[in-house]
């Protein structure tokens, strides 16, 4: 289990991570979701021991990362953002170097496994600087896997890959997730949706939501939204907020029309139609939409608020 407890990290005046707490259970795949610069990478760097938290503590399998970094680092496999590597080494040399330091036993088997898993057969003896971005990323993943760590921290594992490679790597992560505990960050919503059992949404240095996809949809928003565009009408706008099952209404003015985003439990489009008819409001458009993770994300993160 990875346990992050009230962790804060500041860089001068800037608070990069602000009082973040969460837990990753054994065998869970957790997706770290948030816009760029939200604090995902900083949090991961603290888990892996690259940064020290200014406050709070982090435990990996019960080991305090600050007090016993050697032990916790030995348990973790880490793919840093952009997967930095010694470009002047060949893939073989680099992986051997990591195996040396991590004191990997049964080197041949592990090497054969990661080469196959990451699809590196064709570039095994090439220099890392010669590799395309996709291969580069795959060497980074191989490097994180080579010691067969129980915990994997993957910072944007599919960045820079083409669509086919993305699918391959996602399948690999899913497969690994059967026995390993994985934290992965992404700003691609579909990826979090496809891979993670639990999602953490971080924005502006704070953890603003966590839970399974369903929980997030259920807890944070109602599961449905209805879009209605009507000619400006005071009566309708007063009554729609009071309607049963409606949790929130957002309005946007479009010249002589008003657009209502109605968030509710269950589909309320029929009720909205009836209300419009009763109040005599002129209904121009009515669309029932179910909420996607994307909506939650846009709604929760600051960029969405500004819209």
């Amino acid at each position: 289990m990875i346990s992050v407890q009230n962790v804060t990290k500041c860089f001068g005046q800037l608070t990069a991570v602000n009082n973040v707490s969460f837990e990753v259970k054994q065998g869970e795949i957790v997706g770290f979701l948030g816009p760029n610069g939200a604090g995902k990478t900083t949090t991961m760097r603290m888990i892996t021991g690259y940064f020290q938290p200014d406050a709070g503590s982090i435990f990996v399998d019960g080991i305090d990362v600050s007090l016993n970094p050697l032990k916790s680092k030995a348990l973790l496999g880490y793919l840093p953002e952009n997967s930095p590597m010694y470009e002047d080494m060949t893939v073989k040399e680099f992986l051997s170097f990591i195996m040396d330091i991590r004191e990997v036993e049964q080197r041949k088997q592990r090497l054969a496994y990661v080469i196959a898993a990451a699809g590196l057969e064709s570039v095994f003896n090439r220099f890392i600087w010669e590799l395309s971005k996709g291969f580069h990323q795959r060497v980074g993943i191989a490097q994180a896997l080579i010691s067969d760590p129980r915990f994997l921290v993957l910072d944007e594992p599919t960045a820079g890959l083409d669509p086919n490679q993305i699918l391959e790597i996602r399948a690999l992560i899913k497969e690994l997730g059967k026995e390993k505990t994985i934290i992965l960050s992404t700003h691609i919503l579909q990826e979090a949706e496809a891979l993670a059992e639990k999602i953490l949404i971080i924005d502006n240095s704070k953890l603003i939501a966590q839970g399974s996809k369903e929980e997030l949809k259920g807890k944070l928003l109602s599961s449905n939204s209805t879009k209605a565009v009507l000619r400006k009408d005071d009566d309708f706008s007063k009554k729609i907020g009071e309607m049963k099952g409606v949790s929130e209404v957002k309005t946007r003015s479009l010249d002589e029309y008003t657009e209502y985003m109605i968030f509710s439990k269950g589909d309320v489009s029929e009720e909205v139609f009836e209300l419009a008819a009763k109040t005599g409001a002129v209904l121009k458009e009515l669309t029932a939409e179910s909420v996607s993770l994307e909506d939650i994300f846009v709604k929760l993160t600051s960029k969405g608020e500004k819209k």
Partner: protein, 237 residues
């Protein structure tokens, strides 16, 4: 410290020998040392390496920053320090491994000047004492210079800046003990400055005399900069 530091050292050395620049560096160094030595050697005709031990520190003073400039700057620029510091190794393993990697490279370079003492041996009877002492001295000077460059390269991800910083700081340590600056002052201060500065220790090595005070000086000089480096990298950001 564990054996893991040895893997860091090995990686650092392979980093040098995988790059063409290293071979250019070695060649240039050897050509310069040999040229300046043999240019005067045939004029004076004495079977002594004093001349070489006198001038090599000057060449190292400009060349060692080219060895050290990449030690941390390149890691920072490429982001590979993140790989290093998240591996199960201590900061001391990393600092000592990298430092000794740089030192080994320079020591190999210095030892490649072996053609000079061999030439002397062929030409007549030479006293090996001063030669061994002189070489030992060169290694200790190299160690001090490397520790300066190693330390300053933690502050920048730009290799050119790391080179210039190393050269400037090295030069400052050189001039504080120079007679030109210390002659105006007197007594304890003057002695302290000349002990602190690199100059006085250079000249005794040139004479082939390498005494305990020089040994303590270079060792503690190196240790101070290694401690500083460890402090900086431990803090990271």
């Amino acid at each position: 410290m564990s054996k893991r530091f040895f893997y860091i050292l090995k990686r650092e050395l392979s980093g040098y020998f995988n790059s063409t620049i290293a071979y250019i560096y070695i060649t240039l160094f050897l050509v310069m040392v040999n040229f300046f030595f043999f240019k005067d050697f045939f004029v004076t005709g004495t079977l002594s390496m004093r001349n070489m031990f006198d001038l090599t520190p000057w060449i190292m003073f400009l060349f060692i920053p080219t060895v050290t400039m990449r030690l941390w700057s390149e890691e920072k620029r490429r982001g590979t320090d993140e790989v290093l510091f998240t591996l199960p190794v201590t900061e001391w393993d990393i600092v000592l491994g990298k430092y000794l990697g740089g030192l080994t490279f320079v020591v190999i370079t210095i030892l490649l000047t072996i053609n000079i003492p061999i030439t002397l041996l062929f030409l007549g009877k030479v006293d090996p004492g001063p030669i061994i002492g002189g070489y030992a001295g060169l290694m200790f000077i190299a160690s001090a210079f490397i520790s300066i460059g190693f330390f300053v390269s933690t502050f920048t991800s730009n290799q050119i800046i790391a080179y210039l910083l190393a050269a400037v700081v090295g030069f400052l340590f050189f001039i504080i003990g120079h007679p030109m600056l210390t002659s105006g002052t007197a007594g304890f201060f003057s002695e302290a400055m000349s002990y602190l500065g690199l100059y006085a220790h250079f000249t005794s090595i040139g004479r082939g005399v390498f005494d305990l005070r020089d040994f303590i000086y270079y060792t503690s000089f190196t240790a101070v900069f290694l401690l500083g480096t460890h402090f900086v990298v431990k803090k990271r950001y």
